[in-house]
Amino acid sequence: MTNTGRAVLRARGLSKVYRMGQVDVHALREVDLDLEGGELLVLLGASGSGKSTLLNILGGLDRPSGGTVHYLDEELTGLDDDDLTDYRRRHVGFVFQAYNLIPSLTARENVALITDISSNPMDPAEALGMVGLGDRVDHFPAQLSGGEQQRVAIARAVAKRPDILFCDEPTGALDVETGKKVLTVLDQVNRETGTTTAIITHNAAIARMADRVLHMSSGQIAEEVRNPSRASVEEIEW
């Protein structure tokens, strides 16, 4: 168990309302959540249930309409833009649902873009090696398949050795084999470096590799399951 049990991120009463003309869309309703240091958390839920919204707020990419988020003793919801940027820069790594690579940069440069501003990063080539792309470092995003782009995005996120890693459907576009490779990397990073990791997925099978699984529904956490033991990625079939 890498889980230290201590909450690194603490969210209380989080809500998010999108105002769409006359209608209010409640993407999150009064969500309470603790992210424990070193744990691997999986978020499940139907499309539109608010998973991405929650992750974006925890990662400091977005602000809630109500409620608070604390990173250790620091209240993120009270930070100004500069301090929030600083929080992301020092502590957070992201893997986005849409890979969001910079098209004008090669795979290696996309990773370097982030390691350039990190204090203790991996070598970009090493990070790409970890995701099995050691031989594609000089390719541009347009020259890579969707799964390869996603793996570059993961290398980019882990290369900075973040304290918390947020992944929004990292395997959504991947075949089983590649998906496993990607999850193995995430699992390995979580175990070896104790990086607190939160993964959004539609694939319930993946939940078996987590310490804890949250089910979301209509902007609320409907169910929380703590796995007695984490399955290794190889054991998982889907």
Partner: protein, 792 residues
């Protein structure tokens, strides 16, 4: 905090620049043109101003002039003692006839003395070749450069002059220029005539005795101490010289060459300020809108950078660098071209002004101003483009730009939508969704139209004035000048010639017009009462016959003499009985092509006295007989010259066409660039913003043509909207040019021909079509898979 190297971000910058090279290139060229215009026109003007100052100080250009009958040199010390006078130089100067081969009319030389030893200290000359005359020699002269050039005279050649009735062969030992004679017009003429009129400098000890002026002078020039009151000194000088036939001292502001030069420089100043200011602001404007749009397409990338912890400042710096590269390259390119063209500009005007030395002075201040303006607007545009994305929470910035509430806009609600095809509705909605952007683009294109209008209107103005002059005022088909005044019976001889329908004799008398201390030598022209061939054109709707009494002066002449209708001028005839009379001014007309003074011929006969003679005739002839008559009359021994105003007009129009060609070529280039920069960039940016959408349409089976219509239709609408706006803007630009020029000695009528409006629209549309075509090719070669796989 880490000190990041930004290596990867630098790569991104370089790759983006390369990727956007087409767009970058177009704005670099716009900036370059803006900067170049500043350095060429304003820099050229400032260089000319400095050359003028250097020339004036090198020759010690005087502050005050006075001519007089004759005064002994002892008066010099009286002048020197006047408070405020710091230096005095006296001279002897006479107009004399020259015996020049190959001329119908006698040549004239203005002979000016230089001191017996050394060079003149005040009112000096610059020797360009050869040397000053030898002190003791009696036949050596230095001649004006333009005269030497026009007549092909070289050192050692000789010129025969009739000095005080005695013919004398003078040997040319040098050529020179002097700011007092940078624009030298023979007495009675309107324009310089270098083949027939020159300035001669001779030693005083030689020239003086020839005119009985040993130990005396008939012209004095003075230098004033700093801070001296010109009016006070003038009055004192007049008082001293009055007993010696003083003609009234006048300051620099009334010195003819200086006046002309100053007028030209003023015009240069106006043009050198208005045009670069317009060009530079247009360049700045474009730089701003293009960069801000370009960068706002990188919205998602900005979101990613921010999500990973790049600060707003780092992101801002990244895009500022892009702006700096675009404006920096443009500035460097523009500075290079500007210095080069500035040199040509200075040489062109400097030659015309007869400056001894021509240097284009590179002005760091100007370059700094121009580059600050362009860099500033580039930076502002870049930051504005980046800010809208940076202001969003990264989560939102990374989402593709929200497809916001498309709803029927005002046009569609008016029912216009129903008549439009689906593509038309898409174009309309996309324009209505971003009205500000569409308006800014239209404004950019409108600038292109406006610059063309402004550039070409000047030719319209001149053409209009020429037309007014030749069609309405000066209506003869042939103008004949006689070698010597002839008896008026010559009228019958001319009238008998085949094809001649009307003959009007005129008389031309050289005279000096004086009002107060201002004076000007002109040819007074007398035309018959009720003349049909010469009329007074106040404007197109106000055409009057020549008044029976009083002078009609051209506006420019009236301004130089500082007189208006109702004032009187002192007319001193320069030939014959040399009568001196006071004549009222009956009318002042805008005479665009020269300086003239005309009056009723009978009145002129009365005033000048002597026999009733004719200096020439105006003829109206049948069109088909014109060329034949011209040749026949020219052969007559009594005839000095025959001119056809129509031919003058044709020559003028040919010259105009030449300069039109150059000017329009330049404007066309710049205006085209603006149109391309706006339209090409607009379409390219839309292409990258809507690439996925368009690619999806292609995948769904839309043809290239159909997709291109969607993208370029928007630009077409923008262009069409811009044209009328550009016409209005162009009219306003032209108005500002006319207004700023009008205060000087030169004027242009604000007339803009339909042709100008047409051409400006056609050129802009052509540039739009060309840019559309380039983008169209891009759509045709769009790699659908690649576009759908990544997004910018």
């Amino acid at each position: 905090m880490v000190s990041p190297s930004f290596r990867a971000l630098t790569w991104k910058l370089l790759r983006d620049l390369w990727h956007l090279r087409g767009q970058m290139f177009s704005i670099v060229l716009v900036v370059a043109t803006g900067v170049m215009t500043v350095l060429t026109m304003r820099g050229g003007y400032e260089s000319l101003l400095r050359s003028q100052a250097a020339y004036y100080s090198q020759t010690r250009f005087p502050d005050l002039w006075s001519s007089l009958e004759r005064a002994p040199r002892s008066v010099e010390s009286e002048l020197e003692e006047i408070p405020g006078v710091s230096a005095v130089a006296t001279r002897v100067n006479y107009m004399a006839r020259l015996d020049l081969p190959g001329l119908n009319v006698p040549g004239m030389g203005l002979f000016i003395s230089v001191p017996d030893h050394g060079a003149p200290e005040l009112g000096g000359i610059v020797i360009l070749s050869g040397r000053l005359p030898g002190a003791a020699s009696t036949d050596e002269v230095v001649i004006s450069r333009v005269f030497a050039d026009a007549r092909g005279l070289v050192l050692g050649d000789s010129v025969r002059a009739i000095l005080n009735g005695r013919a004398r062969d003078l040997r040319v030992v040098g050529t020179a220029v002097s700011p007092e004679h940078s624009y030298s017009v023979p007495p009675g003429a309107l324009y310089p005539d270098d083949e027939r009129y020159g300035v001669f400098w001779m030693r005083r000890g030689v020239l003086g005795p020839l005119y009985d002026m040993e130990g005396a002078f008939n012209e004095v020039v003075l230098d004033l101490a700093p801070g001296a009151d010109v009016d006070v000194v003038t009055a004192r000088v007049d008082a001293v010289l009055d007993p010696y036939g003083g003609r009234g001292a006048f300051p620099r502001a009334d010195q003819f060459s200086h006046l002309v030069l100053q007028g030209e420089l003023d015009q240069n100043r106006v043009m050198g300020t208005v045009i670069p200011a317009v060009f530079l602001s247009v360049a700045a404007f474009l730089l701003h809108i293009v960069l801000s749009r370009l960068i706002s397409t990188q919205r998602t990338q900005i979101g990613v950078l921010k999500a990973f912890g790049y600060t707003d400042r780092e992101v801002g710096r990244h895009y500022l660098a892009m702006a700096a590269v675009a404006s920096g390259l443009g500035t460097v390119l523009g500075a290079g071209a500007g210095v080069w063209l500035g040199g040509a500009y200075v040489r062109m005007y400097g030659t015309y002004f007869n400056f001894p030395a021509l240097n284009y002075d590179f002005s760091v201040t100007l370059l700094a101003t121009a580059s600050l303006v362009t860099l500033g607007s580039a930076a502002l545009g870049a930051l504005q483009g980046a800010r809208s994305a940076a202001r969003l929470p990264p989560a939102e910035a990374m989402r593709p730009e929200p497809p916001p509430s498309f709803e029927p806009g005002p046009f569609e609600r008016l029912g216009l939508g129903r008549v439009l095809p689906a593509a038309g509705r898409m174009i309309l909605r996309s324009l209505e969704r971003r009205p500000v952007r569409a308006l800014l683009s239209a404004l950019g294109v409108a600038f292109s139209v406006a610059i063309l209008v402004m550039g070409m209107f000047m030719f319209d103005g001149v053409t209009f004035m020429m037309d007014l002059q030749f069609r309405l005022a000066q209506r003869e088909d042939l103008q004949v000048a006689f070698r010597e005044p002839l008896d008026v019976v010559v009228r019958h001889e001319l009238a008998r010639m085949d094809g001649v329908t009307t003959v009007e004799l005129y008389r031309n008398e050289p005279a000096r017009l004086r009002a107060g201390h201002r004076e000007r030598e002109v040819g007074l022209q007398g035309f018959p009462m009720g003349s049909r061939l010469r009329r007074i054109v106040v404007d197109e709707d106000d055409i009057r016959p020549l008044p029976a009494e009083g002078l009609v002066l051209s506006q420019i002449l009236a301004e130089r003499l500082d007189v208006e209708v109702g004032d009187t001028v002192d007319v001193e005839f320069l030939e014959g009985r040399r009568a001196e009379v006071l004549v009222p001014i009956a009318a002042v007309v805008e005479d665009f092509i020269g300086v003239s003074a005309i009056l009723d011929r009978d009145a002129l006969d009365r005033l000048a006295g002597g026999p009733r003679t004719a200096s020439g005739a105006l003829l109206a002839v049948h069109a088909e007989a014109r060329d034949r008559l011209l040749e026949r009359i020219e052969e007559a021994p009594a005839v000095a010259s025959v001119q056809s105003p129509a031919m003058t007009l044709e020559t003028f129009q040919a010259q105009l066409a030449d300069s039109l060609f150059i000017a329009v070529g330049f404007l066309l280039g710049f205006a085209g660039l603006i149109a391309v920069a706006v339209i090409y960039n607009g379409a390219r940016i839309s292409l990258s913003e809507r690439g996925r959408e368009l690619a999806s349409l292609r995948v769904l089976g839309f043809r290239r043509q159909e997709v291109a219509v969607l993208l370029l239709g928007e630009q077409a609408v923008v262009t069409l909207l811009a044209i009328p706006a550009g016409w209005v803007l162009g009219y306003l630009f032209s108005l500002s040019v006319v207004d700023s020029v009008r205060t000087e000695t030169y004027r242009v009528a604000l007339v803009i021909s339909p042709r100008t409006y047409m051409i400006s629209a056609v050129i802009t549309v052509a540039a739009a079509v060309a840019s559309g075509w380039i983008v169209r090719r891009r759509i045709d070669h769009m790699d659908l898979v690649a576009v759908l796989k990544t997004r910018e």
